[in-house]
Amino acid sequence: MKLNLNPAPHVHSRQDTRWLMGNVLIALLPCCVAGVVYFGVPALMLMAVSMASAVLFEALWQKLCGRKLLIADGSAAVTGLILALNLPPRAPWWLAVMGSAFAVVIVKGLFGGLGDNFINPAMAARALLLASWPKFMTAWTAPSGLDAVTSATPLMTPAAWTPLELFLGRIPGCIGETCKLAILAGLAWLLITRTIKWHIPVAMMASLCLFSWIFGKDPVAAALSGGALFGAAFMATDYVTCPVHPAAQMIYAAGAGLVAAVIRSYAGYPEGVTYGILLMNAAAPLLDKCFRRRVYGHGREAAK
């Protein structure tokens, strides 16, 4: 009888990386469905192209680096899907391919792969696409059937939509970000399965609403328009690029909300959620340094 001698612990939580990524994909499903319902087959095409190219680039990169192929962990698929959901519905297919390549190879791969990037790949890719090909990234279409009618997003003309329309998402915008109902369903799934904790989404939305109100805007409309809720639920909560400790997470998320509100109110871009999250990603290592749990037996209470 050959007895295995690997050391304790002898049981492990079933929630491995693949399980977590799978949960994120499940949580994104309502947004995908809403996107396809509102924006039709081209949206579905974009999602497929984006996911496929992200996984492909990940595999190629891992091969090039001579590493073990780890695409089965699902992280590249999540990146690709989140990127697609951040694209306008009628974006050309090559935009998704370029974005995936940038996200997977430059933002993640050059830094060492999963877990080593300091900035959210999908967010950075969106910022790259917006900076490089603005005319494709701001060509909004109203979800009115198959014909692409160019229109303004609610962030540019806030009064044109009622809160209910904003909530249900029959409005122009990126594929995944318009239907708040679907996002909330996904967020609920993530919270119920304890894939993420509540701190980041709550702090980010609270901060965005508060500062939007201070800057003289309608906080409800601010929360319901643009990519705020999608960003707070799915992108700010990216494990790899957010701080680890709850207190640091709250500050990180509040900072992202503040930057988003500032950019929406005063800067040149209509939407600031992307930049808010990216900037706070960059600050996350510092926040992690500043906030630590007190180690048992050290510090003030120890000598009691």
Partner: protein
């Protein structure tokens, strides 16, 4: 010449990271890269020349100060030359022409030239300068091609090409220089005597 620096083998920009401020800031086109590279190389050569002559007589601290003053003087000369003969280039390089004065390429190269003998100082300055100018031109060419679809101002990519505007922006410049350095290291290996961040 002892081969300490080279055009390919130990490129001052791609291996040592000398003079990276202008390398990112002005290399939006190949011509800008070439102009900046040559201007910096010229100032470096003159500084090395003088330091090669007098550097041996100076101690470490004084060397740095003298190099800085010399470099500022030759940067002024470069600015006058550019302003007089290449006004368009001068305008597009803008504030980075006077900033040649504090280019780490010259400050490092000049300080090193001191006390190495006149001939070695000139040869080193020349090789470093050419290496820098070549790297600057190449970086400018890549950024111009990606960002505008042109090479030295002439359209080379088909009209259907949608330019990657980011390549011409600061963020793209930083990333492309970083990737270029990585590629350079991958191709030429990491030099034994090439300590980065000098």
């Amino acid at each position: 010449m002892d081969g300490k620096h080279g055009i390919l083998g130990n490129n001052p920009l791609l291996r040592l990271g000398l003079g990276i401020c202008p390398a990112v800031a002005v290399t939006t086109t190949a011509l800008n890269g070439l102009g900046m590279g040559v201007a910096t190389a010229g100032a470096l050569l003159l500084t090395s020349f003088v330091m090669g002559l007098i550097g041996g007589a100076l101690n470490e601290k004084a060397r740095f100060a003298v190099t800085l003053i010399l470099s500022a003087a030759f940067a002024s000369v470069a600015q006058m030359v550019l302003r007089g003969w290449f006004p368009a280039l001068n305008d597009s390089l803008g504030v980075f022409v006077p900033l040649i004065a504090v280019s780490s390429l010259i400050l490092c190269g000049g300080s090193e030239a001191a006390g190495r003998g006149f001939g070695a100082a000139i040869a080193d300055g020349l090789v470093m300068g050419i290496g820098y100018a070549v790297a600057m031109t190449l970086l400018g060419a890549v950024r111009e091609l990606l960002g505008r679809g042109t090479a030295f101002g002439a359209a080379v990519l088909p009209a259907a090409y949608e330019p990657l505007l980011l390549a011409a922006l600061p963020a793209g410049g930083l990333m492309l220089l970083g990737i270029a350095m990585g590629l350079y290291n991958a191709v030429f290996g990491r030099g034994r005597n090439g300590k980065e961040g000098a």
